[in-house]
């Protein structure tokens, strides 16, 4: 499944709170999500990078095909599973992105 862009009505990507904490992020790196590049701040989780990049659903459920993305954010709900470099069923919210990661969704 290709990443679902945020639906219309919710203009643009979610904001960042960098200014609030006085962040001066290191130069980011890229990972790919189903072949498309995605920017990541070092240390961010794959789930956060996806969501910050405007992708908020990256999996469909096995029975009803319902879209899923982040929900609990702390590794409890297992809604946000992704495949990274062939390793299946990783929780996107718990998995720190690394340069060159190839993430596949669906």
């Amino acid at each position: 499944m290709t990443p679902t862009p945020r639906p219309g009505g919710s203009a643009g990507e979610p904001r960042h709170a960098g200014r609030l904490v006085g962040a001066r992020p290191e130069p980011g790196f890229e990972i790919t999500v189903d072949g498309r590049p995605l920017a990541v701040v070092p240390g961010q989780t794959i789930g956060a990078a996806l969501y910050a990049g405007g992708v908020r659903a990256w999996r469909t459920t096995r029975f009803d095909g319902r879209p899923r993305g982040l929900f609990c954010g702390i590794g409890v709900c297992f809604d946000c599973l992704v495949t990274v470099n062939g390793e299946q069923a990783l929780r996107a919210c718990q998995t720190e992105a690394r340069p060159g990661d190839e993430v596949s969704t669906g």
Partner: protein
């Protein structure tokens, strides 16, 4: 592959590096103990002190926190006292036993020879109000084992706790930590109630929205609604607003915080509440009592929510919609106590909060050598958690014969905070009217996609309790192991939530499980690195998951599956027909692997 060697036996393993675990580790390490602090996350702090990774170079990492200075202090103290910190370690099982290297003549799980310590009362209700008793019973200085003639000549605890971990966020090396004592400081997760559309992307738990913000600096949406019940909604809303989100409303199903009588007796809390009120006003965020979100709408993601005002029982009255692209919703917290129940620690019902671990005034559980601190002993917030952590760490040190000076002020502080937490918990009960939000196709279990209608069918077939409901309709049998829907299912079954039965606390590859079979009932000796051919897991629901054939699949299994294997074996096969709408769910354990979850 065998586990990485456990290494020398530590005096104390602490599971969870939030406020409670950090404080416990500092207290114990400061008293001279060898401490290993274990956490699943990549950074110290747990959920409360979750903060951005170093790559952000945040000059004000505490801008999104209340009391972040406590965290920096605890982190510095850990460093100063030389506590060993193991981050990115997920604990999937804990067991008691005697490492072969430690006591070569003993095999099998072991009960320490040391007599259980004085236990002032069995309920935490009694313990909460008691003095820091056990520390005092030892002549005001040390633990009872140091009193002449009361302890064995052996080391105080000849039983060890073995903590089985999966290290690394994707490689998952198996590691184990052996320790003479264990502090369980595993925190809590959000308690959520199901409602139509709650599985739409854009709907977060309140803690989830905050974790995304505090840990990754990502704001959950442009326009956010915060809903649910309890004071935690306020920091979530004000944090999101400070970070630039438009918070359309904070909807409190119960009463607004200012209306909670217990607040009046706690000036610091009153001031904190007033601070939130000021910030809400500054951002022009309405804070409405007796309101909540009863439905979420959208096709591929959230676009708007239905808001209702509620009667006393939370039955919706007038409704309206609010457009938003994110919803943060939470109805309090569920303590994470499965490691304690794995070890057989006694639990008690904590009123509306579900089961919590019973502890005495030194945070000792009913299992010798095992302590609990923070939310697992009753949800009470970070300050209480930290106080309990200090007490637990000091009690461990005393019980292991270190000199620990009495700290009545600490005990008094804990009592005060616990009393306030209990009053706050009583002020925010979940009312039964939430059931009227449900429709037949509302998912109750997100993992197994079990709609409400299937639970009512199962009930009609005679499933009168949560366990029978689970067997017939499969809620709580998926990846999350019932953590998300467990409370709702219990309430729908008309019962209090029961203590979790998760012999495996984290999904684990079948191969790793088979290799780590010792954690599931086999003598510890079988799990030693020196044993290259561990026996398959014995007993309980683990048999199927540790099937040697499964070993090759490298798939993971979630424990409820393991549990379900036994459950199904015991259940009448006819019971499964409740699932007839989807007959392909009648599958074996082997088929129920995560691959299924990702078509």
């Amino acid at each position: 592959m065998s586990d990485a060697a456990a290494g020398p036996v530590a005096d104390l393993a602490v599971i969870g590096a939030g406020p409670a675990g950090m404080a416990a580790a500092v207290a114990a390490a400061g008293a001279g103990l060898r401490v290993v602090l274990i956490d699943a996350g990549p950074r110290l702090g747990g959920q409360y002190f979750r903060h951005p990774p170093p790559g952000f170079h945040a000059r004000r990492p505490g801008a999104l926190h209340h009391g972040f200075a406590r965290f920096t202090h605890l982190a510095a103290e850990l460093d100063r006292h030389g506590a060993e910190i193991r981050l990115r370690h997920r604990v999937w099982a804990v067991e008691r036993g005697v490492p072969a290297a430690h006591s070569p003549d003993r095999t099998g799980t072991d009960v320490p020879s040391a007599a259980p310590r004085t236990r002032p009362g069995t309920s935490a209700g009694g313990a909460l109000t008691g003095p820091e008793g056990p520390l005092r019973t030892a002549g005001g200085e040390t633990g009872p084992r140091d009193m002449p003639g009361t302890g064995p000549a052996e080391p105080a605890l000849d039983g060890c706790v073995l903590v089985h971990c999966l290290a690394g966020d994707r490689e998952e090396r198996r590691e184990q930590v052996a320790a003479r004592s264990l502090v369980i400081a595993t925190g809590a997760h959000d308690r959520v109630l199901p409602f139509p559309g709650w599985d739409l992307p854009g709907v977060f738990t309140a803690g989830g929205a905050q974790a995304l913000l505090k840990g990754d600096l990502v704001v959950a949406g442009r326009t956010v609604v915060v809903a649910g019940s309890g004071p935690f909604l306020l920091p979530v809303a004000t944090g999101l607003a400070a970070a630039g989100a438009r918070v359309a409303a904070v909807l409190e199903a119960g009463r607004r915080l200012a209306a909670v009588p217990a607040l009046a007796a706690h000036p610091a809390r009153l001031a904190e509440a007033a601070g939130y009120a000021r910030r809400l006003a500054w951002h022009r965020i309405p804070y409405l009592g007796r309101h909540t979100v009863i439905a979420a709408h959208g096709r591929d993601g959230l676009t708007h929510v239905t808001v209702a005002d509620l009667d006393r029982d939370w039955t919706p009255r007038r409704r309206r919609t609010i457009a938003c692209d994110a919803l943060a919703v939470g109805y309090g917290f569920v303590p994470q106590i499965e490691l304690a129940t794995q070890l057989g620690c006694a639990t008690r019902g904590d009123g509306d909060g579900g089961p919590v671990v019973v502890v005495d005034a030194g945070m000792r559980t009913s299992v010798p050598g095992v302590y609990a601190a923070g939310e697992p002993t009753g949800v009470g917030g970070a300050e209480l958690a930290e106080a309990e952590g200090w007490i637990a760490g000091r009690a461990v040190a005393a019980d292991l014969g270190r000199r620990v000076r009495p700290a009545p002020a600490l005990a008094a502080r804990r009592d005060r905070l616990a009393a306030f937490a209990a009053a706050l918990s009583r002020a925010y009960p979940v009312r039964d009217g939430w059931r009227s939000w449900l429709t037949g196709d509302t998912l109750i279990c997100r993992c197994e996609e079990v709609p409400y209608a299937r639970l009512t069918e199962a009930a009609a077939l005679g499933a009168t309790d949560a366990r029978a409901l689970k067997l017939l309709a499969r809620p709580g049998m998926g990846w999350c192991q019932g953590r998300v829907c467990g409370y709702a299912v219990a309430r729908l079954a008309g019962a209090e939530a029961e203590p979790p039965r998760r012999p495996i606390a984290q999904p684990i590859r079948l191969g790793d499980l088979a290799a780590g079979a010792g954690a599931l009932g086999h003598p510890l000796g079988d799990d030693r690195p020196s044993d290259p051919a561990p026996a398959p897991a014995a007993g309980g629901g683990a048999d199927a998951t540790a099937d040697p054939a499964a070993d090759r699949t490298e798939d993971r299994t979630a424990d409820p599956a393991a549990e379900s294997t036994t459950d199904f074996a015991a259940a009448p096969r006819d019971g499964l027909t409740a699932d007839r709408r989807r007959p392909r769910r009648r599958r074996t354990q082997q088929e129920r692997t995560p691959d299924d979850d990702d078509p």
